[in-house]
Subunit: 138 residues, 6 copies
């Protein structure tokens, strides 16, 4: 049976900053540059979640995309969209909001719900700007 | 010798629906949602075909892209573009036109012609909308 | 007071064909080419609706974008998305589904609802493929 | 002599919220929805500035694009990029950071510097997300 | 009768430089920067041609898009694609290949052929990179 | 510890041609088509460089993206942007400027500088036009 990868895109707009409270302002600026602006900045993030599996002989689907979309909204997008990643998002508590850390945290949020839909999670891709993105394969 | 992947994009606009004739209208709607609209709907599909191989020392090419384009037109695009996937496309007969099934069927259509061009087929990617796409690696 | 234009994008996926029942198949093909395929084809249409007005001193808004979005969904997108433009859409009855005619018909659908939101409708833009789009200014 | 319009794109990532301090939290939420999140959210804004004039017979240029870029950086992008529009940006003080108000304020910032480069400012376009943008023509 | 604008996109990849033979290398560099590189550089240009008119009651078309496409290929794209704008393109002889001059020259090339198709030429838009484009309205 | 892939995009505009001096004009045309135009043509190339590693517990970064950007500018972009790949670029001397060869050469240019930044180079992707791109994984 063929294994097919299917990817769904979601989007969220959020504020964040890169800044460690245990560091001086100088060290934060030296390390994180303009991303450490004390009053935050923000992005239109794009999220691509790729799952894999065999297409069902009955439906031709690896996964019901609207069920996948609902799971992503409940576990990820609803919590991040129009929020401050550093202040408002429980699953990012205690983590610096680098795109790398965000992708890993999203993976952890959705792995179980996606398996509950009968699929294997393959990749979480997060794009912060048109010039940089991150992929995590677990 | 280095192995390089090269990808060509093609596009086709087609009608389809997701609906099983052996199911009731209710079951089709419950399963396939608005994709089961009896009078069809359609998409601007994008197709990326990735092949791999060693660049020729003579030409620098893994594959002659215009030969690849011609093969894709003959075996895929000409049959799908401005057609109804469910009614007009011989290689989709008897298959539900999910994006997953479409990617697998396109792989089957082009594997031999691409090998005849001296290359290995690596991936067929089909994008149905800007929010979802499928990849098949054989 | 400044006049500002604001534009909202919506998307819909629909089937259609260009074919006159009062013409022979030959004349339809000669005139409309592959767009006349009897079993339909389809597109991911993109719709941009531009309205203009003065930003409210209270809210900074020319129009409440979510109210605009709801109006577009009710009067346009809900009727076109995952439908057959030629068979399923009351406001296209008796009109050939060229992109030009579609833009004019969408204008007629939304002019009054947008004026009811206190704005002036400026432009309806419909994109059929990445290579062609239409604009109607009333 | 022909009049030509030329447009340069710039980008900035910023945090903001839509919320009036003289309104209750309930009224802010009712009016501005999720855009009123107290801890801010943010966007990757895209800015297109269009100027017009006659191409110089000597250079073929309506304007030196790098001089235009420098003016935009000095008067707009440097002040907005990786900033909080509501807290960090002097030219937005006392204005709600709707995209409409932002476009008008950017116009005011750059009109004189662009005229100093020998051109006429034609349009400021600000895109907040892929689904909405604003244009201001003065 | 409604007037509708319709736009077709074409693409061409070409080499060029901005450099006046009657100027010193120093003056060319000071004026045109890296665009004056003696051995040329190049771009993937995008061309959008907008025409306007009344949709035909018979076809719903302002213009036959394939006829428009053929005219653009014959008069513009065939002459520019995979060419050196400064050396290979008769209609650019004696003109600096700024995007501004290119848009004006394309307008002159296509005005008569488009009028021969029964339409009014409205705008020629040429994009040189994702960060800059030019529009000419005649 | 999780391994994360991070990708940075850079762009360069360059001229080139595909043509072997040891072949006749006829053989070059037969093999390389319009890409063999003697006076060159050009593209807006897009470059995506993917590196992988563990995010630092201190910063959340796999790599400092501005350091990566500087390395790419010094070793790749500065040498290619607004240049003729066949005449001006030392690291392409003696190689046909196919996209395949370009991706392999860029890999060779940046492997050591990227390792010096404490990362593993994973992929070099070069896009020549919106319809074709190449990936090299070493």
């Amino acid at each position: 049976m063929p294994i097919v990868h299917i990817t769904r895109r979601e989007r969220f707009s959020a504020a964040h900053k890169l800044s460690r409270p245990d560091w001086s302002a100088e060290k934060n600026t030296a390390t994180f540059g303009k991303c450490s602006n004390p009053n935050w900045h923000g992005h239109n993030y794009e999220l691509w979640v790729t799952v894999k599996g065999e297409p069902s002989p009955e439906t031709g689907f690896v996964i019901d995309l609207s069920a996948l979309g609902q799971a992503l909204h409940e576990h990820v997008v609803r919590q991040l969209d129009h929020k401050n990643i550093d202040l408002d998002v429980p699953f990012m508590k205690g983590r610096l909001s680098s795109t790398e850390n965000l992708a890993v945290a999203i993976w952890e949020q959705i792995k179980v719900p996606i398996e509950a839909l009968g699929c294997v999670l393959h990749c979480v891709k997060v794009q912060e700007t048109e010039n940089n993105h991150v992929e995590y394969f677990g």
